[in-house]
Amino acid sequence: MTARLLFSPDMKLKRQVRLPGGGGERGRKMLSLLAGGLIAAAAPLAAQTNAAPSRDPLMSLMLSQPRLEIPALTTATAEFDPPVVRPGEPSFLRVTFNALEDSVEWPATIAGPPGLELRPGAHGQMLKVSGVNFEPYTAFNTRAQAARPGAFVVPEFVVRINGQPVTVPSARLEVAATVPASVPPRLPLTLELPRTNLFVGQAVMARMVLAGRPGNAIHGLAQPQLTGPGFLVDGTTSRQRVEAVTQNGGSVLSFIYETTFIPLTAGRLTVQAQGFMASSRLSPPAASPGATVIPPPIVQYTLIESDPLELNVRPLPREGELPGFTGAIGHFRIGPPQLGTNALRVGEPVNLTVTLTNYGDAPLARVTPPPPPQTRDWQVFATADFAPVQPIGPPPPSAPPHAGAPPPSPELHGVLTFSYILIPLTETATATPPIPFSYYDPRRGAYADLTIPGVPVKVKVGAAPGDYASLARAAATEADPEKAPELSRLADARGRTASSLTPPQQRAWFPLVQLAPAAAFLGIWAWDRRRRYQEAHPDVVRRRRARRALRRQRRLLRRAARAADAPRFAAAAVNALRTACAPHYPAEPRALVGGDVLPLLPATGPSDRAGEVVRRFFAATDAARFSPNPASVAELLSLQPELEQVLAALEEKL
């Protein structure tokens, strides 16, 4: 016995029951019951599967879009816009293709005629409606400028598209002193920024203005974008409108596109705006039998671009950064915090709302709320949904300025609301915790404090569970984190100076400086050693002194001999003899007599000439000193050679 449920392709349930062997009445009943139950169980499934299958709406939307039709034959156009300019005025060589931009191998430079300066400009792609399909439309602009009048022709050149060569036709530019009135002027796209000196991260509203032609003809701008390196465009804040703009004393309706521009890198940035200007052209009505058919207008797109804008972007100073800085740059004020209630119980959440009023021209969309503080008595959570409002005009009543604060200026640009959920952890809390917040004011060039002040509250003991105590303890430990380091202020003075960063021990003069005391100590040691030696050997000192004294006396006697001063010559000779003999005894030289000198004389033979000379000198000097009638000593001068020999012999013995 088998029972099968079969689903037909159209999802209808069929029942097929086959009874082997014919079966009896009881068996039929049982089968009918079983089949009835199965059918009852399968009924809801059948009801579900019988419903018509629904399509994915996104898929349906995609399928309903026209197809992208890439033409088999790629065509190129080239023209100057405007075709006639004055000398020095820019014109744009616009080359268009009915191909995707990525498939075009556009040359880096285009060869132009002499006198015509060509520089690469904007390029872009869009899809335009062609019949029931989309067709790619790619444009490359080349900025052209000529300083002198004349006709300049950019010759045709070949560009490879999808690997196939496509010839770009030649284009002609007339440069003349006067432009004919029949030539329409180029519609300028203007890029405006509130200032060109910005800080990194400073959001400003960039404005692209496409002025209309006189007569209130308006042109739209498709795919407006800012091109260049080093910045971010926040497309979520983009908006566009048509506004009357004063131009040449008259008012023209202009297309205005605004978006948030945020520089990301410091230095000089070049920004340029570009977009496809849309202009519609009406076709002549077609007359058909019985009716006049007005065909839909043909929309033409033209890639236009603004002049490049030079920006000077500086990094935010780290010096003087205040707590709670989240990157807000501009001019803000903060309203008084609004607390849900001032009477709280431990563990009960309360909502704190703060309004931030923008008094500058910076968009508020990029302002990040300050992070919730870690405190001992509170648990604070920041709510994710803060609602930026962008009114133009006076501040709303919900954001009254501080007491004593200056009245809001007409520059008011928006209000932003921050919300926090605060939970008191202890009944000792008397006020909500201040939430540090600050911003950088580029007008003053300094950070400004916008700390959200605390609001007085009364916290009662609530029916809080016991685990709030542990939460409070955890909050207490988190509330005392290590103080976050920050960049120091600039040093006002040079401070401790050095001749070099190299340590002294690595410099060449340092070992010499260390050798100086070593040399001094070596000298002291040598001097001490010598002194001790002399103390141990006094005869050496006596002989040295005797030699010195002998040389002195010999100089005296020679001087006296040259002067023929016989008494002084004799006295010096005797003194020299005594000095030379004194160390041998040892004795005081003045105490020696001639007999003391004689034994020390070298043996000179039987004549004893040396002894004779000594005796004569001593006798003459003794007579000169003690005799009442001393004899003349003049003849002693003739004995100088013998005396010198005696003294030399005595000196040798010293």
Binding site: A266, S488, D492, R494, R496, L501, P503, Q506, F510, P517
Partner: protein, 254 residues
């Protein structure tokens, strides 16, 4: 006899005048103090590139702790993390008591998620005083101990207790200075990576395999040099980097 032409004398005069004129700019070169003040003015006008250049020139003429601190600040504002950390380390090298350089290093390393150099115990001791002090302390204490031990005997003075105390104190200070002295010597081989994502190469060639890439401001210890490359030990790696990519605390010490 022919008269010698006057040209050589004139030429000598012209050469002398040219020499004087050539020497004039040297004498009129701005002083380190003037460059420092110019850097402060440029910094306050947010012209950080000019401020950094002025501080760098001032520090090159005469290194000073305040100049190097400001140079670090200016480089940090220019987002030159490696150069900023090097300047602050040099400021601390000269003046370890200055809390500003220490605070800036902590701040920068926290912001850039960099590690401080790992120092041995004797290198840590060497950071307690300015580097130049250790050499003078070691030399002075050594010779003071020698004098106190030797001179009384030489001059035949009776050795007093204070002589021995001075000698013992001198030797003690000398022995304490020796590890710090060695620490200064080894710390002088520290350097910091200047450009971001600096390749650490396996061999000292431009075609070498890159072992890893080092972040700007990462510390490295120089082991030896070979041509334009330096063998460095980074936190856990060993490899070669180009000389210009490594800023040494002591640029002159090799």
């Amino acid at each position: 006899m022919t008269r010698r032409p006057a040209f050589p004398r004139r030429a000598r005069f012209v050469l002398l005048l040219a020499g004087l004129l050539a020497g004039w700019p040297l004498r009129a070169a701005p002083s380190p103090e003037a460059l420092f003040q110019a850097g402060v003015r440029a910094y306050r006008a947010a012209d950080y590139a000019r401020a950094a250049e002025a501080f760098r020139q001032s520090a090159a003429r005469q290194p000073a702790a305040g100049t190097l601190l400001n140079l670090g600040n200016a480089e940090w504002q220019r987002r030159q993390t490696g150069a900023a950390i090097l300047a602050w380390e040099q400021a601390q090298w000269l003046h370890p008591f200055d809390p500003a350089a220490r605070q800036n290093l902590r701040y920068a390393r926290k912001a850039a998620r960099l590690e401080a150099p790992e120092l041995a115990w004797y290198e840590v001791i060497s950071t307690w005083l300015p580097v130049a002090w250790w050499a003078w302390l070691a030399g002075g204490s050594f010779w003071m101990a020698i004098s106190a031990a030797m001179l009384p005997g030489v001059f035949r003075r009776r050795k007093a207790t204070w002589h021995q105390a001075v000698a013992a104190f001198g030797f003690m200070v000398f022995l304490l200075c020796v590890p710090a002295y060695i620490g200064v010597q080894t710390r002088s081989r520290l350097g910091f990576i200047l450009p971001p994502n600096t390749p650490l190469r396996l061999t000292p060639t431009h075609e070498a395999q890159t072992v890893t890439r080092l972040a700007a401001g990462e510390p490295a210890r120089c082991l030896r040099t070979r041509g334009r490359f330096v063998l460095v030990r980074a936190s856990r790696t060993l490899g070669w980097v180009e000389r210009a990519q490594l800023g040494r605390i002591c640029p002159a010490s090799d």
